[in-house]
Symmetry: C2
Subunit: 241 residues, 2 copies
Amino acid sequence: MAIVRQTLVYGGPGGPFEGVIAYEDEIRTLRPGVLVIPNVRGLKEADVLKAEALAKLGYVGFACDVFGQGKRTTPESPDIAVYMKEMNADRAQLRDRLAASLETLKGFDRVDPAKTAATGFCFGGKCVLDMARAGLDFRGGVSFHGVYDRPDYANVAPIEAKLLICHGWEDPIAPPDAMVRLARELTESEADWQIHAYGNAGHAFTDHAAVKGNRPGVFYEERADRRSWQAMQDFLTELFA
Amino acid sequence: MAIVRQTLVYGGPGGPFEGVIAYEDEIRTLRPGVLVIPNVRGLKEADVLKAEALAKLGYVGFACDVFGQGKRTTPESPDIAVYMKEMNADRAQLRDRLAASLETLKGFDRVDPAKTAATGFCFGGKCVLDMARAGLDFRGGVSFHGVYDRPDYANVAPIEAKLLICHGWEDPIAPPDAMVRLARELTESEADWQIHAYGNAGHAFTDHAAVKGNRPGVFYEERADRRSWQAMQDFLTELFA
């Protein structure tokens, strides 16, 4: 058994986009497909590794791109958030770029297009929520230390996608009152939702590169990383049963 | 393989107590032991079934008793909460009765006394939290739709037991602000904690007997029941690894 990673260039508003899809080469039946939506920096090796980890679980993982080909930042960039800000200012276009990524996943020849899910990290967690809010056609999503502010369009009602929100209790970008507001929002939209709040974890708890002490409340936390990944596996198992 | 259930009568303040322990008869090695702490009614068949379900997972399950032998109520009792109220009024004695139950589990000849955990439902969830608050010697606990008011003694610091709190978002006995207070309390006590909040679930979400419509916010919810049981399994696996 070998994991294959393959670059996909695809169209959509603001495109072209460039993502990386990963799958177990020897599985010949159609597999559920799972988006991996990157954080503020856009697609990077850490996202491809998540897609590969999903491939090892038997899924097709697609580390996608909503910023556009070549639009990436690093912690050393003059403005690490430059592309994310563009999207935060145009949530309708963000939605359409997410839809383009989802369609690309569905169209991949190893994916069962009736069985898709999304995962996202930080800004990517917000993207997962927006996909559900916008009524995109996927079974469910997992937000890891996501951001909870609502878009400027109305939620579909009911939200059909199941949602698992993995939340660091010490997250300064999503403090407890933001988490409570999200719970109320999802309840009002009749979503099937769960929020897993992890004590002692902050923002970016899955991100090995987030060293404690650099930014208050932003740090890798091994227990929350491990537990949320297990919760995601249980969630995906339920979703595709 | 056969599950055996065995009645245990044991001592302690306010005793004698009567519980039921369940185990896989053919497992001859020492097993981790898991308390099942009943709800407001005290020990009943539903709790023994939980202990048996734990036995099927490879643990020794002990549906214990903190009210005292024969002290049980039913939904038809003049005051279903009569024995629970006594314990709510004397949390120090409740703690000592919990300690007696834990020691009984540890002393059972099929249990590895270094590997114990507690689960509890409703009032029993409060008991799990109190065991941790009081610093009883067990590895961790799971509260299912528990009650979060603090006892009148101070928490140990740090709380050593790991905690998983499975919470129904619509629970009128533990509304969102009580959940947030609990999170703050456990953080202040330096506990390793998680709260899993389930949308669309209220109090008693694991209780098949809680029919929707009888009491607002108190009802069985299949998804939260199933997901919290899975989360408990993941938690116990981590605890005894």
